[in-house]
């Protein structure tokens, strides 16, 4: 089924993250609609950031509630947990980091293993090296993504994943394509002086990580659109 621009904009406007085949095909042949899609995805990233209001009692969040309210809530949780698992150390149950947080932490930890990758340069990675890394991961990367200055196959959480560095106007940004990790929704994080996005794409996700303060919206949008799963 083919789609015209009006149908595409209605479809993308309702769900820009999950396009059907007809919409994807239309975006591939219609530059104005492709630009409209990028704008919608950028808007979604802003909406998500806005929806993530501070959570009382969450680590690192600006609480927003009075200490009394927070204390009452924690006490009620502690009481609840205590009634559930007598004899178990409640604290270890209550404040276990969620899986998305630990993924963010693992990603940032991984950057520390290859600090030499994060240099400002206009020199692209050797095309053969980049192709080999992408082929090993079973993906293709369209050239619109920009200058890829570093490419390596890294072991991450038991899998070989492409570790790329893309040069942006704000400096180098790390991109990792995670076929085996798929959050239910796009995730933003701040971890260890870095800021990042993990966006579900295809069967997995794409993680984009930069120094704190770097604007990742454009590069995230460009990368997620440039990845093709084979």
């Amino acid at each position: 089924m083919t789609m015209d621009c009006l149908q595409f904009r209605r479809s993308a406007g309702a769900d820009p993250q999950r396009l059907d085949d007809a919409a994807r095909a239309h975006a591939g042949t219609c530059p104005p609609c492709a630009a409209h899609l990028r704008e919608l995805r950028s808007l979604d990233a802003r909406i998500l950031a806005a929806l993530e209001v501070p959570v009382p009692g969450a680590d690192g969040a600006a609480g927003g509630s009075s200490a009394t309210v927070l204390g009452v809530e924690r006490r009620r949780w502690l009481a609840l947990a205590a009634s559930i698992v007598a004899g178990v150390l409640v604290g270890t149950l209550l404040w276990v980091a969620g899986p998305q947080n630990s993924l963010a932490r693992d990603l940032v930890d991984h950057l520390g293993h290859e600090p030499e990758a994060l240099v400002v340069t206009g020199r692209p990675e050797d095309a053969e090296v980049l192709d080999a890394v992408l082929e090993r991961a079973g993906i293709r990367l369209r050239p619109e993504v920009g200058t890829v200055s570093y490419a390596n196959s890294c072991e991450f959480r038991g899998h070989d994943v492409p570790h790329l560095v893309v040069q942006t106007g704000d400096g180098p940004v790390t991109v990792m394509v995670l076929r085996h990790e798929r959050p239910a929704r796009p995730v933003r994080f701040r971890e260890g002086g870095h800021t990042g996005r993990i966006v579900p794409v295809g069967p997995g996700s794409v993680a984009v990580i930069g120094e704190a303060g770097v604007d990742l919206e454009q590069v995230t949008s460009a990368v997620t659109e440039a990845v093709e799963w084979l």
Partner: protein, 173 residues
């Protein structure tokens, strides 16, 4: 996420699961109620209610929509009980802005204001989609609407936000 939740191990897993989902549940409740104190009450009561009826939850994979339903019901119940007066959106934004501005930049604040100003019918499916990651089919089931109605509301919600935020570009109506 598909581990069974029976037995002692299941109880511990249930607590862990609730704690992992609590931030998102709080945020969902906040955008439903547009009030932090109400959101805290709603989530607290919803989690206690969930604990009491945890046997009806078969496996962890089904927990999120199940808990969302409980939060929605608890919000409706609390709202019914307290019979909140209607608050003009400007007043609402002003009353919440100090807390919401914590650790947020101006752009994020502008988007929050625009979302707070959306009608419930548009804001709720948008929150379920963008924040909670639900598909339009799942949102339809959650809200008791047809999928077509959900698509229309989501499309209109984004158009309203684009206009409110001055995002340029083509719009289809």
């Amino acid at each position: 996420m598909n581990a069974p939740l029976a037995g002692k191990d299941g109880e511990a897993a249930f607590v862990r699961l609730c704690e992992e989902l609590r931030p998102d549940l709080y945020r969902f409740a906040f955008w439903l109620a547009r009030d932090r104190a109400v959101a805290e009450d709603v989530v607290q009561e919803a989690l206690l209610r969930a604990w009491r009826s945890r046997d009806s939850l078969g496996e962890a994979g089904a927990a999120k929509p199940w808990l969302l339903t409980i939060v929605r019901r608890e919000h409706a119940r609390l709202y019914e009980r307290k019979r909140h007066d209607t608050v003009p959106v400007d007043e609402l934004v002003h009353s919440e802005s100090a807390e919401l501005a914590a650790a947020a930049d101006q752009e994020t604040m502008d988007v929050r204001r625009a979302i707070l100003a959306l009608e419930d019918d548009y804001r709720e499916p948008l929150v379920l989609q963008v924040l909670m990651g639900l598909s339009t089919q799942e949102i339809a089931a959650q809200l008791g609407l047809t999928q077509a109605a959900v698509l229309t509301r989501l499309f209109r919600a984004r158009n309203k936000l684009r206009r409110a935020l001055g995002v340029t570009g083509g719009e289809a109506e």
